[in-house]
């Protein structure tokens, strides 16, 4: 299952026409302890590069952008009770939402793991 990354520090796992989105280990490290996550309800249409979720830490509240356009099919309810999952397991159990992909060509231009690592190292 290929995983892509954005320069806004979201990751996206693609499985056929569906995808899972979250924020990267680097992002949660920068944010510090996460205290609240606001997720889009199922059925929300999200657009590539536009606000999709909000994550709040002890330091700041930040927007999470949709890596690609699509319709949200499921939000990770576990984050409502335990936002710390984003800190402890950012790229696995701490996923944010799943969506159906509207246009796969939008994946072009996203980074793979090696490119994202190089990008973070350059920051």
């Amino acid at each position: 299952m290929p995983r892509y990354f954005t320069d806004e520090h979201e990751w996206i796992d693609v499985d056929g026409d569906t995808a899972t989105v979250g924020i990267t280990a680097y992002a949660q490290e920068q944010l510090g302890d996460i205290v609240f996550v606001e997720l889009p309800p199922s059925g929300t249409e999200v657009a590539k590069g536009k606000d999709a979720a909000v994550v709040e830490s002890v330091k700041a509240a930040s927007d999470v952008y949709a890596p690609i356009t699509g319709e949200v099919t499921e939000a990770n309810g576990a984050l409502e009770d335990d936002p710390a999952l984003v800190n402890s397991s950012p790229e696995d159990a701490g996923w944010f939402f799943k969506l159906t992909i509207a246009d796969k060509s939008e994946l072009d231009g996203l980074m793979d793991a090696a490119a994202y690592k190089a990008f973070c190292d350059s920051l």
Partner: protein, 533 residues
């Protein structure tokens, strides 16, 4: 969330190695007094006032008659006074020391302001009093309005907004009204990264879509990026000047010209006006609307000490749309209120509405006007100069131990910005801030602005003397050196505060906001602690 505090849990007290000596029965440490919640002190049987028993009378409340005790604490007057005085001793205030909270402008509140605000003609006025009985108060409002217009080089002013963000909303609603009046439905407001966080919130609240404009490497608005984004859908640009990086937006006039050429308006966040008052007039820079935080620039109390007040100065293009009511001097020399009934006579029929029911924060108006008149035009200019000088002194005194990301951009304005670059691995801005508490200072603004990693924003204001700043610099230098050297004791700071480091994450995730325990017998403070971890 918000679970009542049934267990009576409180954060642990100072422990281990710092509070040497035996435990005390009271929990007090000499003059450092431990204070329970007011609910824990008071029995409901006590009262501070002695009222005659009410006569028996039939109730008409029906099913709304109270059936249970309401559980309010009952305290005598001395118990009440002591409770709040003890709490106040655990607080930090501008009256105690330097309060370097960047972007908040915690400056001294002159006592002359307080004296004037307590004069009978200003203190006990009511907004519904007949106008003839509040002539002096109206003169104050009108005189302050005049000064704000003069100092900013603008055309009009709305005095009614109650604080900075309320003023922002007022300004954006004026812009919306002006656009609607010319049948121009624009949907986007541009907000640079270097703007205050309230700006995008205001724009969104007013129904606009918000788009970011990036900052340049030197911490200012990217003029070319802004020009490229301007178009027929852009209603306004909201700029904070001086910006949150503590820098003056040098391209302000070019920005305004470009924005106006595109048919949009310029909103300036005037929260940092204290850095330029008497030096630059925003009206000359092409600003259409700007709020002024009287509780910052003009020294009225804030931060728990008093209400804010955010008058908005308006350009000629926007002034006709400003909210009602406002004051105006009549041909006979008296000051009158312009309200809905007489707006047309004053050529103000296009007002967008009201920001508040009445005339604004009278108590702040008297204080701000006192500050202005006691300083005079030359004194206000010196306020800005001293505030900027003090901030630059701090910036240059510390840039060898604290990274100043925009230090190379030239002098800062009224606040010095540092980053956590250079700290030992695992040490953060939070650690440094906590250590500053041990040194007896309220920490600076942390982690804002977001464009700087681990940001520390320090604003000394004009209040501080050189000796006061030197001591602060020495303290900050010491904790910065400890952060660079990886001094482990920094991670457990504060060591000398009544409470050690609090669990901010737990406080945010599971805040305990309500008390739901039994009141204990009066005068027996109960220290029910279950420890900090």
């Amino acid at each position: 969330m918000n679970a009542p505090n049934k267990s009576g849990w409180k954060p642990a007290m100072t422990e281990g190695g710092t509070a040497d000596g035996p435990a005390t029965v009271t929990g007090n440490r000499a003059l450092m007094l431990e204070e329970p919640l007011i609910f824990e002190i008071g029995t409901t049987g006590t009262t501070g006032v002695d009222l005659p028993e009410p006569q028996e009378s039939a109730t008409r409340l029906g099913s709304f008659v109270r059936k249970d005790e309401i559980g309010l604490p009952g305290l005598s007057e001395p118990e009440t006074v002591r409770h709040y005085t003890r709490l106040s001793r655990q607080n930090y205030a501008i009256d105690l020391g330097l309060f370097p909270l960047g972007s908040c402008t915690m400056k001294h509140n002159p006592r002359l302001n307080e004296k004037v605000a307590r004069m009978p003609g200003f203190l006990d006025v009511h907004p519904l009093q007949p106008v003839d009985t509040v002539r002096g108060a109206l003169e104050v409002v009108n005189e302050l309005a005049h000064w704000l217009i003069e100092l900013t080089g603008m055309h009009g002013v709305a005095m009614t907004p109650k604080a900075g963000a309320h003023g922002e909303l007022c300004g954006i609603l004026c812009i919306r009204a002006a656009l609607e009046a010319r049948g121009d439905a624009r949907e986007v407001i541009l907000v640079p990264e270097s703007a205050h966080g309230t700006n995008p919130a205001t724009a969104a609240f007013a129904g606009y879509r918000v788009e970011d404009i990036p900052a340049t490497k030197e911490g200012r608005v990217d003029l070319e990026a802004l020009k490229a984004r301007l178009g027929p859908d852009v209603a306004a640009v909201m700029i904070t000047n001086p910006n949150t990086c503590g820098l003056f937006e040098r391209d302000m006039k070019a920005i305004s010209d470009a924005v106006h050429a595109a048919g949009a308006f310029v909103y300036c966040d005037g929260a940092n006006f204290n850095a330029i008052v008497g030096k630059v007039r925003p009206g000359d820079l092409g600003v259409d609307a700007m709020h002024i935080n009287l509780h910052k620039t003009f020294s009225t109390p804030h931060g728990g000490g008093g209400p804010g007040s955010g008058p908005v100065v308006l350009s000629e293009a926007l002034a006709p749309f400003g909210p009602l009511p406002f004051t105006a001097r009549m041909a006979d020399g008296t000051v009158q209120l312009v309200e809905e009934e007489n707006a047309a006579e004053h050529d103000h029929a296009r007002a967008f509405g009201r920001m508040s029911a009445f005339h604004g924060q009278m108590g702040m108006f008297t204080r701000a006007l006192t500050y202005i008149l006691s300083h005079g035009a030359d004194g206000l200019k010196q306020v800005a100069e001293d505030a900027v000088l003090n901030a630059n002194y701090i910036l240059r005194s510390l840039e060898d131990v604290l990274d100043a990301p925009f230090g190379p951009s030239g002098p800062c304005m009224h606040e010095a910005l540092f980053s956590d670059k250079g700290f030992a691995d695992g040490f953060s801005t939070l650690d440094l801030a906590k250590a500053l508490i041990d040194e007896g200072y309220h920490p600076m603004t942390m982690y804002f602005p977001l464009v700087v990693h681990g940001a520390m924003l320090v604003e000394p204001t004009e209040t501080e003397s050189k000796a006061g700043i030197d001591q602060f610099v020495a303290a900050l230098r010491s904790v910065a050196e400890r952060a660079r050297a990886g001094d482990e004791s920094l991670k457990t700071a504060p060591h000398f505060a009544p409470r050690r480091r609090l669990d901010e994450t737990l406080a945010a995730r599971k805040p305990v906001l309500a008390f739901d325990g039994p009141c204990t017998p009066g005068g027996t403070p109960q220290l029910s602690e279950q420890g900090g971890s």
